[in-house]
């Protein structure tokens, strides 16, 4: 129950985050914003450290960009990613706009454990014996090389000493089984879809536009669109291209107008809107980043047991495909080191982890699996040349 303890430290973290706005610190150090190690553009965290690391070396979602998370099947892993994203925004005191869902959605945000670094640090402590230590300062930063570079601008946090003055945390860790309690959670705004003769999205755009335009110029906004086009929330005519794509285009325009202050994350159920359709392709073309989740069909029982911390690797719950990355593909696309990888994702109570996918040993061959556990199967990427 170590996270309990950290939960106490939570209020401290919040105060830390609030410091820059309260005191007379210069505004560029907005909470939750840090320059990209790749080209220095401001980025913000998605609330999931390993997703941050996937984003083409920027170690975060660049401001002014849209991330589209698609999910096959009827599971809601994308929803978890979205909740982390929203919760991160709440904790960083960003203005979080949630489109199309009732306010209950806001109450289901995961509870804060601490900064991602502290949790990662704990994890690596646990793994210390297994891993080769390269340099002390890399260890906190998780598995991603991109994340390593990203730490340049963040002074060493030193979580063991909460009294020391600290830089604001970039990313936090959350617990899906807990509920987020944070003073600024009431600050979230829920933008309903208003039925209209024209596009039902017009009112959404109006609201987003006014709220962003009227906010203080250092306020950071997050636009959260859960399960876009889901027929239980969206009227049937919303999937008309002239409504939907015009909305996404206008949203893109809005983000470009406030390019350093807004990010958006959208989830889309592929079971209803398959990737092979032209409409979905246009939604992807209008997004800066596109990620597809393909959950394994048999992962239901693994989900329930994975909460228990085991020393063994947790079995992945699905595959993750990267179709487009912000900034990188805008420039022409290409050959990010993360792009060709096969990724797997694991959702446990406390984290959504994305890591390279390795083929599991043949089923039923548990003995061999146990025997070879330390070395493991050669990863697919190792075999490729």
């Amino acid at each position: 129950m170590s996270f309990r303890k950290r939960n106490i430290g939570l209020s401290l973290g919040v105060d830390r985050a609030a410091i820059p706005t309260a005191s007379e610190k210069p505004a560029p150090e907005s909470p939750g914003i840090r320059p990209s190690p790749d080209d220095g553009r401001p980025t913000t965290s998605t609330g999931t450290p390993s997703l941050d690391g996937l984003l083409a070396g920027h170690a975060g979602l660049p401001m002014g960009k849209t991330l589209l998370v698609e999910e096959n099947g009827t599971t809601d892993f994308a929803g978890a990613l979205l909740r982390y994203y929203a919760a991160e925004g709440v904790v960083q005191e960003h203005k979080v706009h949630v489109v199309g869902v009732p306010e209950q959605w806001g109450r289901s945000l995961p509870g804060l454990i601490g900064t991602a670094e502290s949790v990662e640090g704990k994890r690596s402590d646990k793994r210390k014996d297994e891993r080769m230590k390269i340099a002390w300062r890399y260890e906190r930063l998780g598995e991603f090389g991109a994340g390593v570079a990203g730490s340049r601008n963040v002074p060493a946090a030193g979580n063991q000493d909460p009294a020391a003055p600290q830089a604001p945390a970039f990313c936090h860790a959350f617990d899906l089984t807990k509920r987020l309690a944070h003073p600024s959670i009431t600050n979230m705004s829920f933008v309903p879809l208003a039925p209209s003769k024209e596009s039902p999205f017009i009112s959404v755009l109006n609201r987003l536009q006014t709220e962003i335009a009227s906010s203080a110029s250092h306020t950071i906004h997050r636009i959260v669109i859960p399960s876009l086009l889901n027929p239980t929330m969206y009227p049937p005519d919303t999937c008309q291209p002239e409504h939907l794509l015009q909305f996404l285009h206008s949203l893109k325009a809005l983000m470009n107008a406030y390019t350093t202050r807004v990010t958006t994350m959208i989830t889309l159920p592929l079971a209803l809107f398959p990737r092979s359709s032209g409409l979905v392709r246009w939604m992807e073309l209008l997004s800066d980043g596109v990620i597809e989740l393909c959950p394994f069909p048999h992962s239901a029982d693994a989900l329930t047991t994975s909460g228990a911390a085991t020393s063994q690797e947790e079995p992945p719950q699905g595959m993750l495909k990267v179709h487009r990355l912000p900034v990188l593909h805008e420039r022409g696309g290409g050959s990010d080191q993360n792009l060709g990888q096969d990724w797997a994702f694991i959702l446990s109570r406390r984290r959504f982890e994305i890591k390279p996918f390795s083929l599991p040993p043949a089923e039923g061959d548990t003995e061999a699996q146990d025997a070879s556990a330390p070395s493991g199967m050669p990863k697919k990427s190792d075999l490729e040349f």
């Binding site: 246009w282 022409g332 696309g333």
Partner: protein, 352 residues
């Protein structure tokens, strides 16, 4: 990595010297976008004149023919193009001042004008389209004066005092913002007259022999976001393009050629369901333009997966408008790699 020349030598002949009334189609897909190639076209057309003080002594052969570019972008902001062009040594804002370049913003206000009272305005315009033509409403929106969104924000900038709101910068160098209103060909005509007016503005100052290049970035967005229910289909879009072409020396279009948008036209391919209008119209538009284009530059990712040092494949083919015997066969297939610094390396298969 060594820095690359702004124009890859293998591509240079395809990027410059576009014949009169020619149409070049650049097709892209989700994982292989065309922005880098568009920038190379811009560079090929504008660089000699923009770098006059730097490099013209060496190649003053080309400085006598000045080229001008009108650039319409539906998917990206001027901010993006400006910063990316800067990496190639092109100062688009300065070129715009010198009236060699004009940017037409098809992103910001195309469907939604960010102003507080815009809901009533946009609600009123389609209803009243019978008596008020779009042409009368358009100049109002595209006036270069202070925009409502900006004026709303400027006090915020003053009070906040931070550098986080760069919106004031973006308006510079944008010749016009397009706004779509109404439906059918009337709406397209309004957009066309907006673009043509900018092209005409550049033209009078042009001496003889000047070439006006028109680049339209993703006009297919216009088709996707309107579609047959607004009375716009492949034919109307193609006619719209033809109308613009008539005012330009050469035209370059970029367009998405993703499988779902091109191959879903037959029922069997679309997974059993009827192909959607967005798919058939897009396919009709793209293929129809390829029939008219002199050359088609197709970008795609490697079919064998992702390689470390290859971003994608560029296939250059002769389109239906290519005239045999008049110029040499343009067909070629090369690989390209976009470096972190924005430089592009272009090479044949098997080379490096």
């Amino acid at each position: 990595m060594p820095s690359q020349p702004a124009l890859p030598p293998l591509l240079a002949p395809y990027l410059s010297s576009l014949p009169h009334t020619s149409l070049t189609l650049v097709s892209s897909i989700l994982g292989a976008t065309s922005n880098w190639l568009v920038l190379r076209f811009l560079h090929a057309a504008l660089s000699t004149s923009s770098n006059q003080h730097a490099a013209s002594e060496l190649e003053d052969v080309r400085t006598d023919e000045k080229r001008k570019v009108v650039f319409v972008s539906f998917m990206r902001s001027f901010e993006f193009w400006k910063s990316e062009a800067k990496r190639l040594g092109l100062d688009l804002a300065r070129l715009a001042d010198k009236e060699q370049f004009a940017f037409i913003d098809g992103l910001s206000d195309l469907f939604y004008t960010p102003q507080v009272s815009s809901s009533s305005a946009s609600a009123a315009s389609p209803a009243g389209r019978g008596n008020s033509t779009p042409r009368t409403t358009l100049p109002l929106r595209s006036q270069p004066g202070p925009l409502p969104g900006r004026s709303l924000q400027s006090p915020a900038i003053a009070s906040g005092g931070s550098g986080l709101a760069p919106r004031s910068q973006t308006e510079l160098g944008v010749a016009k913002k397009l706004h779509f209103s109404g439906r059918g060909t009337a709406a397209l005509d309004a957009l066309e007259s907006d673009i043509v007016s900018v092209m005409q503005q550049l033209k009078p100052s042009a001496e003889d022999g000047d070439e006006l290049l028109l680049i339209v970035d993703q006009p297919d967005l216009l088709l996707a976001t309107t579609g047959p229910s607004l009375g716009i289909g492949a034919t109307e879009m193609a006619e719209w393009v033809a109308g613009l072409q008539q005012h330009a020396h050469a035209t370059i279009l970029t367009m998405a050629a993703d499988s779902p948008l091109i191959h879903n036209v037959s029922v069997s391919r679309a997974g059993g369901h009827m192909p959607a209008p967005i798919e058939t119209e897009h396919a009709g538009f793209a293929i129809g333009l390829a029939h008219r284009a002199r050359s088609v530059m197709q970008l795609r990712t490697l079919e064998t997966g992702v390689a470390r040092d290859v971003s994608g494949v560029l296939r250059i083919s002769a389109g239906g408008g290519w005239i045999a015997g008049k110029d040499e066969n343009p067909e070629k297939e090369v690989l390209y790699y976009i470096q972190r610094d924005g430089g592009v390396r272009v090479f044949g298969r098997g080379e490096s």
